[in-house]
C-alpha cells in the first residue's frame, strides 16, 4: 500500500507558531527570545496596526541582520508614540530627524557605514504613508534612483493619523477623513486620485519591491528576509489598519487587514527588478461590503440609504486588482506545503 507523506499541521502556516513545527519552520514572532524591537509601554492606541507591523518587520530584519541594524524613522505616529524624549520603546539603534527626509537620512547612514567599512551593519528606514507617498516622496525617489543600500518600509494606514486623520496620497476613494468629509453626493475621498507607491517603486527598477499586511505574518517575515538578502534600494509596503482613523474595533485590526487582502482591494505581491514575481492568492474571496461595513470611515455608504453605486465602484477596483495581479488561485492548496513527513 502506498502512503502519502503528511504535510499537515492543524494550523498549517497561518498561525504565528505551531508546536508541531521545527524551530526553523516557525516565525520570528513565535520565538520567546525575539528582539521585541518595539518594547511595551509605547503609547500607540489600543489595537494599533502600525505598532504591530513595525515590531513584525523590524524583529524579522534583526534576525536577518544578526542584530546589526540601524533604523531611521520619519515623523509620524510610529515615532511619536514610541519616543517621547527621554523615553523610548526602541531596543535598536534608532534615529529620527524630520517628517520628509527619512530616505535621505538613511542614505547618509548607509554612506557613513560604508566609509567606516561596516558592511555588516544594515540600514532600514521607516515612515507612515504620508511620510512616504507625499512629503518624503522626493527623497525616496532619489534614494531609489541612486539604488542606495536601504530597505525602506512604509506603514500604510491610509492617512495622516498622527495629526488627526487627514487625507494622504494613499487614502482610498470614498474614505472619510478630517479633510475629506462625508458630505455631498461624492462623500469622502475622491475617486481617481492618489498614488500607488509599490508600482511607482517598481518603475524605478529597484531590486526588490513587495507589499504585505499584518494579517499574514509568515508572508511578511519572508519578504523582510528576502529583502535583507539583497543590497541596494528595496521597498516594502505594509498595510497597517488604524482603529482610530478607520473607525474599526480595536480587536479587529488583523481581521480588517485580512479582508483588505481577501477582497482584492489590497493586492499582496512581490516584484524583483521591476517585475511581479509572486502574488498571495485570495483564499476565501469576499465581497468588498464585508470589508467596508466594519469601518466607520465608510459608514456613509451604508445605513438607511446605502450607496450601492459607490460600493459597486469600489468592488470594480477590487475586481480590477484581481485580474491585474491574478489573485485567484487556480486550485486552493489542500494541505500546507510547509509541513514535513512524520
Amino acid at each position: 500500500m502506498t502512503t502519502q507523506p503528511i504535510h499537515f499541521y492543524q494550523v498549517g502556516s497561518f498561525a504565528v507558531g505551531n508546536r508541531l513545527l521545527d524551530d526553523d519552520g516557525r516565525t520570528v514572532q513565535s520565538d520567546p527570545n525575539r528582539t521585541n524591537s518595539l518594547d511595551s509601554g509605547h503609547r500607540a492606541c489600543q489595537g494599533c496596526g502600525e505598532a504591530l507591523g513595525a515590531r513584525y518587520a523590524i524583529d524579522a530584519a534583526m534576525r536577518a541582520s544578526q542584530g546589526r541594524l540601524v533604523a531611521v524613522n520619519a515623523t509620524g505616529c510610529l515615532e511619536v508614540f514610541s519616543t517621547p524624549y527621554p523615553e523610548t520603546s526602541w531596543r535598536i539603534p534608532w534615529l529620527h530627524s524630520l517628517f520628509g527626509n527619512a530616505p535621505a537620512v538613511a542614505t547618509g547612514v548607509a554612506a557613513a557605514l560604508k566609509v567606516k567599512g561596516r558592511s555588516d551593519v544594515r540600514v532600514v528606514a521607516q515612515a507612515g504613508d504620508g511620510g512616504t507617498v507625499d512629503i518624503g516622496f522626493g527623497c525616496l525617489s532619489g534614494m531609489f534612483e541612486r539604488n542606495d543600500d536601504v530597505l525602506f518600509i512604509c506603514y500604510d494606514n491610509e492617512a495622516y493619523m498622527n495629526t488627526g486623520v487627514q487625507r494622504s496620497g494613499a487614502t482610498p476613494p470614498a474614505a472619510r477623513t478630517a479633510t475629506t468629509e462625508a458630505i455631498g453626493s461624492e462623500a469622502g475621498n475622491a475617486f481617481g486620485q492618489g498614488k500607488d507607491l509599490p508600482r511607482i517603486a517598481m518603475a524605478h527598477d529597484i531590486p526588490y519591491v513587495a507589499t504585505a499586511t499584518v494579517a499574514d505574518l509568515h508572508d511578511l517575515e519572508d519578504k523582510v528576509e528576502r529583502a535583507m538578502q539583497v543590497h541596494g534600494a528595496r521597498y516594502l509596503h505594509i498595510l497597517v489598519p488604524c482603529p482610530l482613523g478607520w473607525g474599526s474595533a480595536s480587536s479587529d485590526t488583523i481581521r480588517v487587514a485580512r479582508l483588505a487582502k481577501e477582497t482584492g482591494l489590497f493586492p499582496v505581491f512581490e516584484a524583483v527588478d521591476g517585475k511581479v514575481t509572486g502574488v498571495s492568492p485570495i483564499r476565501h474571496r469576499t465581497p468588498v461590503e464585508e470589508y467596508l461595513s466594519i469601518q466607520g470611515r465608510y459608514a456613509h455608504l451604508f445605513g438607511k440609504h446605502p450607496r450601492t453605486d459607490i460600493i459597486a465602484r469600489i468592488q470594480a477596483m477590487a475586481d480590477r486588482n484581481i485580474t491585474t495581479y491574478g489573485l485567484l488561485a487556480e486550485e486552493p492548496a489542500d494541505i500546507d506545503p510547509k509541513g514535513v513527513d512524520v
Binding site: 503528511i6 498561525a15 527621554p86
Partner: protein, 541 residues
Amino acid sequence: MERPFAITLDVGSSHANRTGSWRVERPVYVDRLPPCNDACPAGEDIQGWLYQSEPGDYEAAWRLLVEDNPFPAVMGRICYHPCETSCNRVQLDEAVGINAVERFLGDHAIERGWSLPAAGPDSGKRVLVVGAGPAGLSATYHLKRLGHSVSLVDSAPKLGGMMRYGIPAYRLPRAVLDAEIARIVAQGVDVVLDHTVDDIRRERDEGGFDAVFLAVGAQLGRRVDIPAGDSSRILDAVSLLHRVADDDPPMLGRRVVVYGGGDTALDAARTARRLGATDAVIVYRRNRDRMPAHGEELEEALDEGITMRWLSTVNSFEDDRLVLEKMRLDDEGFPQPTGEFEDLGADSLILALGQDTDLSLIDEAPNVVVDDGVVEVLPTMMTGESGIFAGGDAVPSPRTATVAIGHGKRAARSIDAYISGEEPDQPGRHELASFDRLNTWYFSDAPRTKRPELERARRQSTFDEVVEGLNEENALFEARRCLSCGNCFECDNCFGVCPDNAVIKLGPSERYKFDYDFCKGCGICATECPCGAIDMIPERI
C-alpha cells in the same frame, strides 16, 4: 555623568510606562468544553487525547483516554460516535474522524501491550458487580482504580455481555474484545462465570459486600404474536446473535426476513447473509427517516445486498409465505394500516423488535423500583435501595455500549463515595466551545480520511472485520484535523499578535499568561485565537 552634546537627559525605556492602566476590558484564558467531549456518553476528554496524538505521543493519548474508558479498541469499532455528530469541524468541511483515531490508539496499545493503570491502594471494601457487559466491566475497572475489591459475576461462560453475545464479529473481532477485557481482569478481579444471581440481597449479604452494581443488560428478545404455521421458523435476533457468538448458528435457509428497524435488525440481517442467506430482507413499519438504526450501519448493510421493505408490518407467516401489510404514516408520523397486503417468500423470520430485561433477581428487593421494565435510578446511578446501584441497558437509557460504559464510570464514583460515606462530587462543566467562537481562518483545509472497507464479496460471506483501521499517517492526519475547540493548543497566535508584547510565552505545554502591566485590552488576541480560548471580560474600574 558626562553627556553627549546637547543631550540633557538619559535615555529611559518606555517600560516605565504601565499602559495596562488604559484597559477597560481584560483578556483571560479559558478552557471551554469541546462539543465532542460534551457529547461523549463515556465522558472522554476527546480533544485532550487528540491533542496528545498530534505530535505522535500515542501512549500519552491512550493513557488520557483510558482515564475514562478502558475500551478504546472496542469503542473505535462499535461506538456510534455522537462526538462526530456534534464536532464543530462539520461546519467547516467534515467531522474529525474521532472514532477512527480512537481505534488506532486502541489497536496500537494492544500491539504494544500497554497495561491499564494499576489498581489503587486497597480500601478493604468489596463490591459485587452483576453482569460483565460494558457497564459492569467499566464499573469494575473504575472501582479497582479506586482501590476496592470487585467480584464480577455473569451467567454466561465468558466475559463481555452484549459486546460478545450481541455484536457480530465482523464489527468487533473477538481478539480485540478479549485483549481489552483481559487488561481489566489483570488488575486483580475476582471473576465468577456461569453463575446466575437470582436474589440480589441474599447474594450481597452472604458475600458480605459493601455495595452492589447491577448491570444485567437487556437480553430477552421481545416477541409479538404473529399467526404462524407449525413449520414456520421464527426466532428472535438476540438469540440468533448469541448462538452465532457461541459457534452454534441456527439453520435459517436462503430467504431470511428480519422484522424491525433498529441496529439489531441490521446486525441480524447482515449475520444472516454471512450464514448463507441469498435474500436478506428487512421489514420495517416506518420509513428510512424514522428508522432508529444508525445511518452508517444501514449504508453498510445496503452495500452488502440487504434489501428493505419500508412501511410494512408482518401480518402472518404460513409455511414459506409471509403476508405483509402496507402502512402509511399519519400526520404525527405514526404508521397506520392501509388494508393492502402482499406476499413475501421466506424460510425464516427473525424478530428484532427490542429487548427486555430479566429483573427476577430483584424480586426480593422491593425498594428497587422498576418502571416500564427498567430499574429507576438517581443521577448517581443508585436505585431506591441504598447501596444497590444499577446501569447499562437495565436502566432507562439509549442502550448503547458507550452509554453503558459511562454508567459504569459514574456508578463506580458514586459507589466509592457511598462506601466512604461522602457526598458524590458533581464535577462542574465548563461552558460550551461553540463554533462561532472559533477563528477558522487559521485552520488548513483538510478533508477527512475515510476508513477502507472490506471488499463486498468478502464481507458477505465471512465474519471478517468490515471496517479497516487507519494507518499511523492517516490517524495522525485525522488527529491534526481537530480544531482544539475551546482549549489552547499553543499556536503562539496571542503571543504574536499583541501590539503591546503583553503576552508571555511560558514554554512547551505551559501555555501563556498575560502581562496586565502593559495589556491595553484591545482584544486582538481574543479575536485571533483560533480555538476561542480567550475571553474578554470587563475590567472593574
